[in-house]
């Protein structure tokens, strides 16, 4: 029995030799999708010679992992994923402020004034319509938040859960913003929307999937997710934007406090903000808008000139998130 055990242990230990990281290596907690992360780190290494590895994590997972490491983080930088996660991390003191020279090309409202995090992409909330399904109930593609409450859309709207998904939370905060900053107003909208929701999906773009498959007539998603679905083969999907105004998400980048390789991490932030890196999204099917003013958005990305944006208070949204999400759970989900 002891011999049987010894073999796998020896194997494991032997494999130790193959792994391990040097000092000029950096590790990124990456909150976007696999290929995007892979491309970003690969190109970064090509540019700077600094080796970079990444682990794909949702914001919450990344937060939990960085926090639990108790000042000995395994990550040097955090890239991608909504700004509210970065706000929360900042509050916990998990981020190392760094004002990159490249941040000058980025609008002040799209970054933390203290340099704790900086925006790298912008996702705009839109409606992902399946015209065939809508037609069955005699509806046209939806163009307003109000129209989503139509009784004919019963169980016919896809949306994500505010707790698990940045998309879902952006929907909720957009309603808060539309309600003049009243959290009650925001929750009230979702309460009225609830009967029309098939389920609060745990991931943001599942609603685009559902619309594509015809499970719902319309999904509330970041417009780039709907575009990605179109590219994936659901060609009949149509993106619309709400006329009342819509919310948006900013994807961030930040240096982690206590990083083993802070220099490398800062170099990575510079890279993430550079025009060059921000042009890479569309090559891997990611159609969010760049934050770098020097980059022209892809033709498939949302056209900000034709869309009304709400006054989206990014830090405020981030700070309010835990409480608001809990209220959503208790007052809307559990009440059903």
């Amino acid at each position: 029995m002891k011999r049987t055990l010894a073999i796998p242990i020896a194997l494991t230990l032997a494999s130790a030799a193959c792994y391990g990281g040097g000092k000029d290596r950096i590790t990124i907690a990456c909150g976007a999708h696999e290929q995007w992360c892979a491309t970003m780190t690969r190109r970064f290494t090509e540019q700077t010679g600094i080796e970079a590895g990444f682990v794909r994590l949702s914001s919450g997972e990344a937060m939990a992992r960085i926090k639990a490491a108790r000042g000995k983080p395994e990550f040097d930088a955090w890239h991608g994923g909504p700004a509210d996660g970065y706000e929360a991390a900042k509050k916990e003191g998990l981020l190392e402020p760094y004002l990159s020279p490249a941040a000058a090309r980025i609008k002040p409202e799209w970054r933390d004034p203290g340099g704790a995090w900086t925006g790298v992409y912008l996702g705009v909330l839109g409606f992902c319509n399946n015209p065939d399904v809508l037609a069955e109930t005699g509806l046209e593609p939806v163009t307003s938040w109000r129209a989503l409450l139509d009784e004919r859309l019963r169980k016919n709207v896809g949306v994500a859960h505010p707790a698990t998904s940045g998309t879902g939370y952006t929907v909720l905060w957009t309603q808060v913003a539309l309600g003049g900053g009243s959290q009650d107003a925001g929750l009230d909208y979702l309460r009225r929307l609830h009967p029309n929701v098939l389920q609060f999906n745990k991931s943001g773009n599942a609603a685009a999937q559902q619309a594509g498959r015809g499970e719902v007539g319309v999904g509330i998603v970041f417009s780039h997710d709907c575009v990605a679905q179109q590219q994936q083969g659901y060609a009949k999907l149509r993106v619309t934007f709400p006329e009342e105004g819509t919310g948006y998400e900013i994807g961030g980048v930040a240096v982690i406090k206590g990083a083993r390789n802070p220099q490398g991490a800062r170099a990575y932030v510079d890279w993430a903000l550079s025009a060059e890196s921000q042009r890479l999204g569309p090559t891997v099917g990611f159609y969010a808008l760049p934050t770098n003013a020097g980059v022209t958005p892809d033709s498939k990305a949302a056209d900000l000139s034709k869309i009304t944006l709400v006054d989206y208070d990014v830090p405020g949204a981030g700070q309010a998130k835990p409480g608001l999400v809990r209220r959503f759970e208790d007052e809307i989900m559990a009440a059903s």
Partner: protein, 544 residues
């Protein structure tokens, strides 16, 4: 039974090793998280547990656990019954189909379920024109029972094969009908065997995360609530509190099972077999067979969809054949990494489960079931919480008096690229299956067989290796197979442990599904399923 004194060094070593495993793998990480749930700051959190919403979640969890455990155990029994007692064609095929769900990659089966049986399901809507909303409890029970029943099936199959047919002959001889024999003899004799998978399925169902996330609809359970607390509210304390609550039903059921099974020890393998199995060949076999075939068809349809989804552009919309998805999946290092790690963890888990069961049943009977319990705990805790526990417990070097005693095990830059922690997590998450099946099968083995060996001078480990092990080989096989499948498909814990050096398939599936690349997600699952099934065949060869 053999509770003699002295001369039991190997038994003590085994107890020591098993204890070390559960302490390091489950108890300590869990304690690290629960320490957070015990701080004064967490107190207000407990007050909210009695709120209507949290009580509702608790109720949802219990209902789900109960339904899945019942349905899954019943399915296992049905398949084992068809396999061992019915004279019907195609049993071999049915057996293999029943094993497929051992590989239930997160998301894939749930997604396939939606695609086939959802609102616009190819079958529910396309074939029958239904507008069936599968999200919620019904969908969860369907998917979870199908995913978890194989372990019940394999356990019960081994037991039904081991049942002395002479007893059935005796009962028939006394005038009992087949139905009566089943109800009054087979079922009660299998009771310990039924209790074990029931407990396992209950615990697995309430701790499962992936399926409630995809299919849960508005049906929130504790595991998904704990996950939401971590991911949405950045609130590990709440997650720890929810996990603590989740442990209560698991522990309660565990104790109840021990009590119940402990009081009715059914011993059937006596070493004096006689008689011959009489297969049911009357009309009565067809309803059972029909039901089993129906279930098998559903399984085939779901996994067929996964397979088809991995070789078509967009399954359900664009059926053009393509190998792109498979190419992406096969090109990933995750395949090799995961397979190697799982292959390392599997024998450890299988052996640990067996040794623990043996210790618990034969050597620690009197009230010392804690080892058995701690072994089961590995699956009773939501993976998310265990994962955080690993980071808390093993991220930093353990230093005593300024000397590094244990280097950090978790994360990038840790020993062996963090793979030790992953292997440990794999092991503790997959031990319970082996432990429970082995316990069930040991409880059926008459102690006198082992005593005969002891009486002839065999030391405990010699008896274990030469007598016990060969006799409970089916359970070992189940344990190993299930362990491997679990390792390859575990997700929630591992998300916290993956590093750039150790890529894990499920994390890739999650990421691909998250991006809507369902073709790629399906492709990963297909590859995964193929690897696991191939390994099951290999394990069979090695063990048999």
């Amino acid at each position: 039974m053999s509770r003699d004194r002295g001369g039991r060094l190997p038994v003590r070593v085994a107890i020591g090793a098993a204890s070390a495993l559960v302490l390091a793998g489950t108890v300590y990480p869990l304690a690290s998280v629960l320490a957070e749930a015990a701080t004064p700051a967490a107190l207000p959190r407990y007050a909210r547990l009695t709120s209507a919403s949290d009580l509702g979640i608790l109720r949802n969890t219990l209902v789900l656990g109960f339904l899945v455990a019942t349905a899954g155990t019943a399915l296992g029994l049905l398949f084992a019954f068809v396999q061992t007692r019915l004279d019907v064609p195609g049993k071999r095929l049915l057996h293999w189909i029943a094993l497929i769900p051992m590989v239930s990659p997160p998301f894939a089966v749930a997604t396939a379920t939606v695609v086939l049986y959802g609102r616009r399901g190819l079958i529910t809507h396309g074939l029958f024109g239904l507008d069936y909303d599968i999200y919620g409890l019904d969908g969860l029970v369907l998917v979870l029972s199908l995913s978890f029943f194989p372990v019940a099936y394999l356990g019960l199959l081994g037991m039904m094969r081991a049942l002395d047919p002479a007893m059935e002959e005796a009962a028939m001889n006394l005038g009992a009908s087949r139905r009566r024999v089943f109800r009054t003899l087979i079922l009660p004799l299998l009771a310990p065997g039924l209790a074990a998978p029931f407990l396992l399925l209950f615990v697995e169902a309430i701790a499962d995360l992936a399926n409630p996330l995809v299919l849960g609809g508005d049906y929130v359970v504790l595991a998904s609530r704990a996950y939401l607390a971590v991911t949405g509210e950045y609130d590990t304390t709440s997650a720890a509190v929810y996990s603590l609550v989740l442990l209560v039903p698991a522990i309660g059921l565990y104790l109840a099972q021990r009590h119940w099974v402990g009081r009715k020890v059914r011993v059937t393998v006596t070493g004096r077999p006689a008689g011959r199995v009489h297969l049911v060949s009357g009309w009565a076999r067809w309803p059972f067979y029909g039901l089993a075939v129906l279930v098998a068809l559903v399984i085939v349809s779901l996994y067929g969809t996964v397979l088809a989804g991995s070789v078509t552009e967009v399954f359900g919309v664009d059926f053009t054949l393509t190998l792109d998805h498979l190419r992406v999946a096969l090109g990933s290092e995750a395949i090799a990494d995961t397979t190697v790690l799982a292959a390392v963890a599997t024998p450890i888990a299988g052996l640990a489960g067996l040794v623990m069961a043996w210790l618990a049943v034969r050597h620690l009977r009197a009230g010392s079931g804690w080892l058995d319990f701690a072994g089961t705990l590995g699956i009773a805790v939501p993976g998310t919480v265990l994962g955080i526990g690993y980071v808390l417990a093993y991220r930093s070097d353990l230093e005593i008096g300024g000397v590094t005693v244990l280097p950090g095990l978790v994360g990038g830059g840790a020993v062996a690229g963090g793979s030790l922690a992953i292997v440990l997590a794999f092991v503790v998450r997959s031990v319970p299956a082996g432990l429970r099946t082995a316990t069930g099968s040991l409880a059926q083995l008459h102690p006198s067989i082992e005593e005969a060996s002891t009486g002839l001078g065999a030391r405990p480990f010699q008896t274990f290796r030469r007598i016990t092990l060969p006799l409970i080989r089916p359970a070992l096989l189940t344990g190993l197979s299930y362990s491997f499948a679990r390792c390859m498909t575990s997700m929630s814990t591992i998300v916290f442990l993956v590093t750039p050096d150790t890529k894990i398939i499920t994390a890739q599936v999650l990421s691909a599904a998250g991006m809507g690349y369902y073709g790629v997600a399906f492709a990963y699952c297909t590859v995964l399923t193929v690897i696991v099934l191939a390994s099951l065949a290999a394990i069979r060869k090695v063990v048999a």
